[in-house]
């Protein structure tokens, strides 16, 4: 298990994808280590789905490379074998019953745990005889997740898995993912633009905007290397010059500076207070400042590592 956890579950170098004249993804260098629940966050059109499609081999890169599961080129049989993918809107064959979907997926994969799948659908109260198209949105998502998990993947890739679900179904869905993660040690990469539920589950964050990776790193590390400074608005500009400010919010009297400290905490000047930052606050700050970046992820081979320093 140790070896599995040190390898990169998804690794990209110079990865770019162009649709027509639009760059959906540009020069993306990323290394997501195994053993995490990695949240891929960003506004619509940031390139999240494109990155995931490239990782599961549905799309081919315009430039650069993407490997999965510790160096297997994306889209090869070896790569597909170890990835369970649930696409956006959980496409299933609507006219096939849940039981037929199980049987079909079993036939399309080298490894498939039919007993697990049937037991899980039973637990969820999804009748095997019911057609997939007649299941509720939550049940369809759960069926798709069950099919992916029963393949015993090393990596579970979920593209906006909760977009169509109500809050209860979202909670159940994430609980299922977490259970699988705990039981199987499966790595998870999921994209979402719903921040609240990610805070609970994700321990690795990738923030994307405009086709670029803006922030990547373990959540604990990111939270430890950022803080919010609150102080008099009049002094904010002068103070900010000495800091790496991600986002500055100014009120009448008080200013809030979300700064990146990288652990080197300078003494806070009188009149100012430092607070720890929450994940949602951190994400929002970066989303509001698409120019800011924090890429303290694992070291990449070659020139890509040079790109990981802070801008702004």
């Amino acid at each position: 298990m140790n070896r599995e956890q040190t390898k990169n579950i998804i690794e990209t170098t110079g990865l770019s994808k162009r649709y027509g004249s639009t760059w959906a993804l540009r020069d993306c260098a990323l290394a997501i280590p195994a053993g995490h629940v990695a949240a891929l966050v960003g506004p619509n059109g940031a390139g999240k789905t494109t990155l995931l499609n490239l990782a599961v081999g549905l799309a081919a890169p315009t430039a650069g490379t993407v490997t999965v599961l510790g160096g297997r080129p994306a889209g090869t049989l070896a790569a597909l074998d170890g990835i369970g993918f649930v696409a956006q809107d959980t496409p299933l064959y609507k006219n096939l019953s849940a039981g037929d979907m199980v049987h079909l997926t079993r036939n399309l994969n080298r490894r498939f745990d039919s007993a697990y799948a049937q037991a899980r659908l039973d637990d969820l109260g999804i009748p095997l005889k019911r057609k997939a198209g007649k299941l509720s949105g939550g049940q369809q998502a759960q069926l798709a997740l069950t099919l992916a998990l029963a393949r015993r993947p090393q990596l579970l890739v979920l593209d906006e898995p909760m977009a169509m679900l109500d809050p209860v179904a979202r909670h159940d869905f994430m609980a299922s993912v977490m259970t699988a993660m705990a039981a199987d040690g499966v790595s998870v990469v999921l994209s979402s633009h719903v921040l609240a539920e990610l805070e609970r589950v994700a321990d690795y964050l990738i923030l994307m905007s405009r086709g670029r990776v803006q922030v990547a790193g373990e959540v604990d590390g990111l939270l430890a290397s950022h803080c919010v400074l609150t102080g008099p608005a009049a002094e904010a500009d002068g103070y900010a010059e000495r800091l790496r400010v991600v986002h500055a919010g100014r009120g009448e009297a008080q200013a809030h500076l979300l700064v990146r400290t990288d652990g080197t905490a300078d003494p806070v000047p009188p009149g100012w207070e430092a607070h720890p930052v929450g994940l949602e606050e951190l994400v929002l700050a970066y989303l509001r400042e698409p120019g800011a970046a924090a890429l303290p992820g694992p070291t990449l081979p070659g020139p890509a590592s040079a790109r990981q320093e802070v801008v702004k």
């Binding site: 049989l77 597909l80 299933l92 036939n107």
Partner: protein, 341 residues
């Protein structure tokens, strides 16, 4: 929860053995069983019909041949009955619809439906691999459909056999050329080859257009265009036609063209022909006209494809249709491989 933990993963995970091809058998059947059942029902109904009318036809033929003396009224009745039965399913139109229907309802949706509904994102990310998935699906469907159509065309050949007997004209029985446009591609390897081509056209159109209904329309248009072009323009050029000056070529032959020629080998236009005969003092009877023209050095040349060329023509047509189908299937697989999502 111990049952839910994964087994130890084998070390050769990095280069797994591919999922066996035969596993696609169930998948293909389950996904296309409605279409395949429909095709089977259609072929079955046509087969039963051909069997029934075939028995009647063969019976009528046997009766007409066995009748003695041939010149009696009773025999003339039997001959007329046999000759009147030659409508072979509205001149073959019903049977020609079979490849078209297969192309439209099985070929066009096979990939278009996945692309339209987005289920390709499920299917192509399974361990089987999208290229192998496409190859397995298209190949198995193509083989099954071609075999079904081939079986029906064997039955059709049996049914229609009495009209192809070269001895028929001497008994005043109908004889039909095997090259008759509506007939040629229902016999031999033609029918199976056209069915295969229709399926391949549909599958390719579906992958290209990514929508079921436009793909259906496109495959119908392309198939129909190709079938008409082959029957009306292409087929007669498969081999150079033979020439004969015998004004009555054998009934099995396919007449490509007939024309009067001068001694110098110049074709005589109908206008000139009219003048020649008109100058002969009134319009003569046709036999006299022929005699008159022959006496004056004109020759009536017939270019034709002899009946003995039926099988060479079948293999030529089957061959290019097979090549076209393989090309289209390969192109479909290529489109799937390079498909940009």
């Amino acid at each position: 929860m111990t049952a839910l933990t994964s087994p130890a993963r084998p070390a050769e995970d990095a280069s797994p053995r591919p999922v066996p091809w035969r596993r696609m058998g169930w998948v293909t059947w389950r996904q296309h069983r409605i279409a395949l059942t429909g095709v089977a029902a259609l072929l079955g109904v046509l087969a039963v019909y051909l069997w029934i009318v075939g028995l009647q036809l063969h019976h009528a033929y046997a009766a007409a041949i066995a009748c003695h003396p041939a010149s009696s009224f009773a025999c003339a009745d039997l001959i007329q009955t046999f000759n009147g039965m030659d409508d072979f399913l509205a001149n073959g139109f019903v049977l020609h619809a079979v490849p078209a229907l297969i192309g439209v309802f099985v070929g066009a949706p096979v990939l278009a439906r996945e692309l339209e509904a987005g289920t390709f994102r499920f299917a192509w990310t399974q361990g089987f691999g999208r290229t192998r998935w496409t190859v397995a699906k298209l190949t198995s469907l193509a083989v099954v459909l071609t075999a079904g159509a081939g079986a029906l065309s064997v039955l059709f050949s049996w049914y229609y056999q009495p009209y192809l007997n070269p001895g028929n004209p001497t008994l005043n029985l109908s004889e039909v050329s095997q090259f008759f446009p509506g007939l040629f591609d229902l016999r031999g390897v033609g029918f199976a080859a056209w069915t295969l081509a229709a399926f391949a056209i549909g599958a390719f159109a579906g992958t290209l257009l990514r929508r079921v209904v436009p793909a259906m329309a496109a495959s119908l248009a392309v198939y129909a265009g190709l079938a008409f072009a082959a029957a009306l323009y292409l087929r007669q050029h498969y081999l150079t036609p033979l020439l004969t000056s015998n004004p009555n070529p054998p009934g099995s032959a396919w007449i490509i063209g007939q024309q009067w020629y001068t001694k110098g080998g110049q074709p005589v236009s109908p206008a000139v022909l009219g003048q020649l005969l008109g100058g002969n003092g009134g319009t003569p009877k046709s036999a006299d006209a022929t005699q008159y023209l022959i006496q004056h050095g004109y020759t009536f040349w017939t270019s034709y494809q002899p009946g003995s060329r039926f099988w060479p023509f079948q293999w030529i047509e089957g061959g290019w249709l097979l090549a076209l189908s393989l090309l289209l299937i390969a192109a479909t697989v290529w489109l799937v491989r390079r498909r940009v999502v």
